[in-house]
């Protein structure tokens, strides 16, 4: 059996639907980091039959609620001293800052790239967000 050891401090993103782990890995740009990261795919699960897990041995300075776009049943475990100190499922964020770039070519953020993109939730059901600057509406159904 393939074994991956537990981590002392960091984040474990669990219950990711099988095949979606790579999206989280890419979204968090974990291929560019210098700390230990494990992407486990097709891990047997009682609840889901098959799931993906991402283990990150570091803190991440980002609101991980955005992962709810993929699936709201994902579990985020915060680990310290090899123990889970916080466990939660991501909730649809009211605001998303600095993560998604506005695709409207007429938006000021398309030319002033130092501006922090900010999206405001306008419809929780449809996961629709509006750009704070140009008000272009996007539907967040994937990362």
């Amino acid at each position: 059996m393939l074994r991956v050891t537990s981590i002392a401090k960091g984040i474990v993103i669990d219950h990711i639907p099988a095949g979606e782990g790579i999206k989280i890995f890419n979204f968090l740009e974990l291929d560019k980091v210098n700390y230990r990261v494990a992407l486990l795919i097709n891990v047997p699960s009682k609840k889901m039959k098959c799931k993906d897990i991402v283990k990150i041995e570091n803190e991440i300075n980002m609101n991980l609620d955005i992962l709810s776009v993929l699936n709201e049943n994902i579990t985020i475990n915060i680990i310290e001293n090899e123990k889970i100190i916080k466990k939660y499922s991501p909730k649809i964020p009211q605001e998303i800052e600095g993560v998604i770039k506005c695709k409207n070519p007429r938006c000021i953020t398309s030319v002033e790239t130092k501006l922090k993109n900010k999206y405001i939730l306008i419809n929780e059901e449809t996961k629709e967000y509006r750009c704070q600057y140009c008000e272009e509406v996007i539907k967040l159904t994937s990362l």
């Binding site: 409207n104 070519p105 007429r106 938006c107 000021i108 953020t109 398309s110 030319v111 002033e112 130092k114 501006l115 306008i122 509006r130 750009c131 704070q132 600057y133 140009c134 008000e135 272009e136 509406v137």
Partner: protein, 310 residues
């Protein structure tokens, strides 16, 4: 005290709009009374995109209030051409002047500017997004022609997708009672979804879309014609294909109401035939005149200049 800015016409309450209209009409009736109201005040006109009417009407407004004006009329002559950000330009200019009016081709640039300006900031148009001073001009025109803001069927015709004056006026008129809209445009240039969902449907305002001006014209109390704007297209062939979709002429006006108010933010290209200019229903040159007076009233309001001081 928090500095007041104007990004969107709906930043002003209905009551504030009425106060501005009242003041603009007072200035129009007695302009000499107000000709030193802004003595020693400086307006900056930062126009990153070419404009004739908006820029000149801002400048005329400030001069008529006894103030002075500095600025640029083209992005190429600003530090923006050297790569300076909008926020740095506005931050700097707000050290030199008492009030700023800015036009910029990118949507949301006004929001960026207002965030950093230490002096009142007026959006003179941010791309295809908002153009609140044109909306105030339009509201003054509607009020002075019709003497009310309620009970109208308003038709918008032309480029309803990129026409920022349309978006702002729809939002502004949606605040009044018994208003319904007919949006007449080619399918490529329909009104944006967010306006339909967030402004019209949310407030149960009646509207429908059409591609046929002749069919709809008899139902209208106000007809707002717009130009298909070349500068909003990335593809010239699309512009050429769509630019002359609607041309208002006397033939089409045969079935229109006697008291129809024909508006256009100007400049026009071909969308209103010259023969309509002499029709008593044409209000678009009055609109241009009102633009100066409403901007005078707005400058006074944002600079908090009391009428009695003038």
């Amino acid at each position: 005290m928090k500095v007041r800015h104007l990004i969107d016409s709906c930043d002003l309450t209905v009551k504030e709009v009425e106060e501005l209209i009242k003041l603009a009409n007072k200035i129009m009736d007695n302009p000499n009374k107000y000709n030193t109201c802004c003595k020693n005040k400086i307006l900056a006109t930062l126009f990153f995109e070419p404009s004739t009417r908006t820029r000149l009407s801002f400048e005329a407004a400030m001069h008529r209030l006894g103030g002075s004006v500095l600025g640029f009329a083209d992005g190429a002559s600003s530090s923006g051409a050297k790569g300076e950000s909008v926020s740095d330009t506005v931050k700097t200019v707000s050290c030199y002047t008492d009030i700023i009016a800015m036009r910029h081709p990118k949507e949301g640039s006004a929001f960026v500017a207002a965030e950093v300006s230490n002096v009142p900031f007026i959006n003179g148009g941010d791309g295809g997004h908002y153009h609140p001073t044109q909306t105030l001009t339009d509201l003054l025109t509607i009020y002075n022609v019709k003497n009310k803001f309620e009970d109208f069927v308003i038709g918008f015709c032309g480029d309803l997708k990129f026409g920022r004056t349309v978006h702002s006026l729809v939002k502004a008129m949606a605040r009044y009672k018994n208003i319904s809209f007919i949006f007449i445009s080619p399918v490529e240039l329909v009104i944006p979804d967010y306006l339909k969902k967030d402004v019209l449907e949310k407030n149960n305002i009646k509207y429908y879309e059409s591609t046929n001006l002749e069919k709809e014209i008899s139902k209208l109390d106000i007809l707002y014609m717009t130009r298909v704007q070349k500068e909003r297209f990335f593809n010239e062939s699309d512009y050429i294909r769509l630019k002359d979709t609607y041309i208002l002429n006397q033939e089409k006006l045969k079935n229109a109401k006697e008291d129809l108010c024909i508006m256009h933010p100007l400049p026009r290209v071909n969308e209103i035939s010259r023969e309509v200019d002499s029709d008593s229903r044409a209000a678009y040159f009055k609109q241009a005149k009102y633009g100066v007076y409403i901007r005078m009233a707005l400058i006074m309001k944002l600079l908090e200049i009391e009428e009695k001081v003038c």
